[in-house]
């Protein structure tokens, strides 16, 4: 089953390389990995979707000196979003149909030419797969996805500013409920 982990890492050169190398070295299959900035310039955040035991992955990530915190959010209520840009072939007859499908999925047309449209759609895995399936009949010329980013719902915040307290209270992130 797919598992989703969120990791806070120090924003230092080579950190992405260290994480990627770890996954290959330990034979973990990555489904998707995204990395980006957080509200703190010193800290980056990764969302990692794997097809491996999340506990094992988290423990190995903790071995990397620059990894600050790892949370398995698979079974925590969360918001997960993936963004796709899809270039679809259209003709005068099919253009309207594609626009209709976009409406149903609340997708946006962000570029048009006489024979193509670029559709931008944001959502979870299912929604994106859904629209891709619907658009396939018209001819998908090109597609790109950002990979999933995830945030836990509610008041709990995985904030880099709070990591010191967080760690102190969790005993190095080694307690069983973190992993």
């Amino acid at each position: 089953m797919k598992q989703t982990l969120v990791a806070l890492v120090e924003n230092k050169p080579g950190v992405l390389n260290r994480v990627a190398s770890l996954f290959r070295r330990r034979n973990f299959n990555i489904d998707s990995l995204t990395v980006g900035r957080t509200e703190s310039p010193a800290i980056s955040r990764m969302t990692i979707v794997v097809d491996t035991d999340a506990e094992k992955v988290a423990k190995q990530l903790y071995k990397l000196v620059n990894v600050i915190q790892v949370e398995d959010v698979t079974n925590v209520p969360n918001v997960s979003r993936d963004l796709a840009l899809i270039k679809v072939q259209v003709s005068a007859e099919t253009r309207g149909q594609v626009i209709q499908i976009c409406d149903i999925f609340r997708a946006h047309i962000v570029d048009t030419s006489p024979e193509t449209l670029i559709v931008e759609v944001t959502g979870d895995e299912e929604k994106i797969t859904g629209i891709v399936e619907m658009l396939r009949q018209f001819g998908i010329l090109e597609m790109v996805r950002t990979g999933v980013v995830t945030m836990v719902r509610g008041e709990q915040a995985l904030s880099p500013n709070g990591y010191h307290e967080h760690f102190a209270s969790r005993g190095n992130g080694h307690s069983a409920n973190v992993l």
Binding site: P13, K56, K59, N172, S175
Partner: protein
């Protein structure tokens, strides 16, 4: 004080307590070599191959418990370190490697002797750094030492471009705290974990302690022994756990695993509780995981959370420093007897004893096991032994019992041939001891024997015992057992080692009869102003018994046949 980057490196080494560095110069590290002339308190040992430098630093670290230091140039200098770094990584040995790099302006241009050294060493270091700015240099070196020696120790590499070594800045030693928000090596167990462990300990009828290198590294030998005596629990050792507790102790079962003792392996397979103390259930230790200690519950104490449940599922995992955790546990542990269990274990021990080659006459043949046994006698079990990899390593493990920690230095996890001689040089230098013996095979010795010159130049009083069986013996053994005796690429030509030693000005003797073994050891022990070499021409077709074939059940050992009553 305005200093160059090169001077800052050396200032920082001094503040870390470094007294010796093992290295080899080259273009990209020359500024640092030049700066060494101003710091005579830092002794530099010129090796003959950078791999030797890494093994020496590793041997130094394992013998002294301090961080070993390596210096090398960019490109080929740094890539030559890789085997040594990987060896240190597998056995959690703390070394810091400082490598020169091409100037920052040339990085990425395929400049002369440019290699992406942080890239190459990423999977085999605990951590590594490329320093772009001289302002970061002092702190980086400080952090590198901190990471190398804390938690689960390991090798750290700092790559320093030439222009960073030449740049000048105000040197202030960074006394402030280490800034690593995600790095907090664990120490203590929680009360819940201690209670859970106590429950299993109280219920156990057939417990066995598995003592690993963590016992040695955390200095927990006394606590392990106290626990064992209080609960009357026998102790099996991993190869790297040897010395953690005295092997002469009545509760010691000696080594477990592939070439472990029959009684250690049978005790493990029949146990109802395994207490894994700072060991990582290596495949050489467990054999077939599906049939490993099937009726035993497991308490696993390890400082590295990723070792928990990695190979063997633990019923009570405790992440912490072994010594600290045992100190938490000990006051609460109840006295136990386990009489029936210990009687059973003693039976297995007697059976093993009967088969033991030590008690058998070899006729005119010189057996390596006998050589090592005699060596143990001649040195009164007091030598610091450094081995290479192969059959001789296993015979050392079987026939040289160790009583004190840090007295056996051997490449376990990577099994690196060529480790023995350089690691022994590093150990002897670190300890300033005349009591270090390198026990090496004829094969592995030839991989790094260039370091004989280093030993001579530095007048290192290391004793070298070559166990010459004319074969890559361990591989030959596998060919005998598993490849129908097709001895492909294992018989090997060796030079005349005595003449070779003479070429280096090293006193040497060849021994081929049992009665000459002890006198030769005594002779070598009397030479203390430089290296000395003894070659033992031993039986060529010998086998290390017992043996658990790779992946087989731990109790299915190939054992030496018990001697029949009418055999001599």
């Amino acid at each position: 004080m305005q200093l160059t980057g090169a001077e800052i490196i050396l200032e920082c080494l001094i503040r870390e307590g470094v007294d010796v560095m093992f290295g080899y110069p080259g273009g990209a590290i020359l500024p640092t070599y030049d700066a060494m002339t101003k710091y005579p308190q830092l002794h530099h040992v010129l090796v003959r191959h950078e791999q030797g430098a890494a093994h020496m630093a590793d041997g130094y670290a394992r013998a002294t418990g301090k961080v070993g230091v390596v210096i090398a140039t960019s490109g080929p200098g740094a890539t030559n370190l890789v085997t040594g770094i990987a060896t240190a990584m597998m056995d959690s040995s703390p070394i810091v490697c400082i490598t020169g790099q091409v100037p920052t302006s040339q990085i990425g241009t395929d400049a002369f002797q440019e290699t992406d050294v942080t890239g190459v060493t990423l999977p085999v270091t605990k951590h590594n750094y490329l320093v772009y700015d001289v302002e970061d240099l002092a702190y980086t070196i400080r952090e590198a030492f901190h990471v190398a020696r804390t938690g689960r120790p390991g090798p750290v590499l700092v790559d320093v471009p030439k222009d960073v070594q030449n740049a000048r800045t105000e040197f202030v030693y960074p006394e402030d705290e280490i800034r690593l928000p995600g790095y907090h090596p664990p120490k203590r167990a929680s009360e819940g974990e201690i209670e859970a462990a106590l429950r299993l300990i109280e219920q156990a009828e057939r417990p066995v302690i598995l003592a690993g290198r963590g016992v040695v590294m955390s200095g927990a030998g006394a606590e392990v022994l106290q626990f064992a005596e209080l609960t009357q629990t026998p102790i099996a050792l991993t190869l790297l756990g040897k010395g953690g507790v005295p092997e002469s102790h009545p509760l010691s079962l000696s080594m477990m695993g592939m070439h472990g003792t029959g009684h250690a392996n049978l005790a493990i397979q029949n146990a109802d509780l395994l207490l894994a103390f700072g060991m990582r259930f290596d495949d050489r230790v467990t054999g077939n995981l599906k049939t490993y200690a099937p009726n035993a519950r497991k308490i696993h104490i390890d400082i590295d959370t990723s070792e928990i449940h990695k190979n063997v599922r633990a019923d009570v995992p405790i992440v912490g420093d072994l010594k600290v955790v045992l100190q938490q546990l000990l006051p609460k542990v109840q006295r136990r007897e386990h009489k029936a269990w210990l009687a059973q274990v003693r039976d297995w021990m007697e059976d093993a004893d009967e088969r033991d080659i030590v008690h058998q006459d070899a006729g005119s043949r010189l057996l390596a096991a006998h050589v090592i046994h005699d060596m143990w006698q001649a040195t009164q079990g007091n030598a610091i032994v450094v081995t290479d990899v192969g059959q001789h390593q296993m015979w050392e493990a079987q026939y040289y019992p160790h009583e004190r920690p840090h007295t056996l230095i051997t490449s376990g996890g990577l099994g690196t041939m060529g480790f023995g001689l350089p690691a022994a040089i590093g150990a002897a230098m670190g300890l300033r001891s005349t009591n270090v013996w390198a026990i090496v095979g004829d094969g592995g010795f030839q991989m790094t024997m260039a370091e004989l010159a280093t030993a001579v130049q530095e007048r290192v009083p290391v004793k070298i015992a070559i166990i010459n069986n004319g074969y890559l013996g361990m591989v030959r053994q596998w060919q005998e057992f598993f490849y129908e005796e097709r001895y492909n690429a294992t018989p090997m030509f060796t030079p005349d080692f005595i003449a070779l030693a003479a070429a280096y000005g090293i006193p040497a003797q060849r021994v081929s009869r049992r009665e000459d073994v002890i006198p030769a050891i005594d002779w070598a022990d009397s030479i203390n102003d430089g290296p000395v070499l003894v070659e033992f021409a031993v039986e060529k077709h010998d086998i290390v018994y017992p043996m658990v074939p790779a992946g087989a059940d731990l109790h299915n050992m190939i054992r030496r046949p018990a001697p029949s009553p009418d055999s001599v």
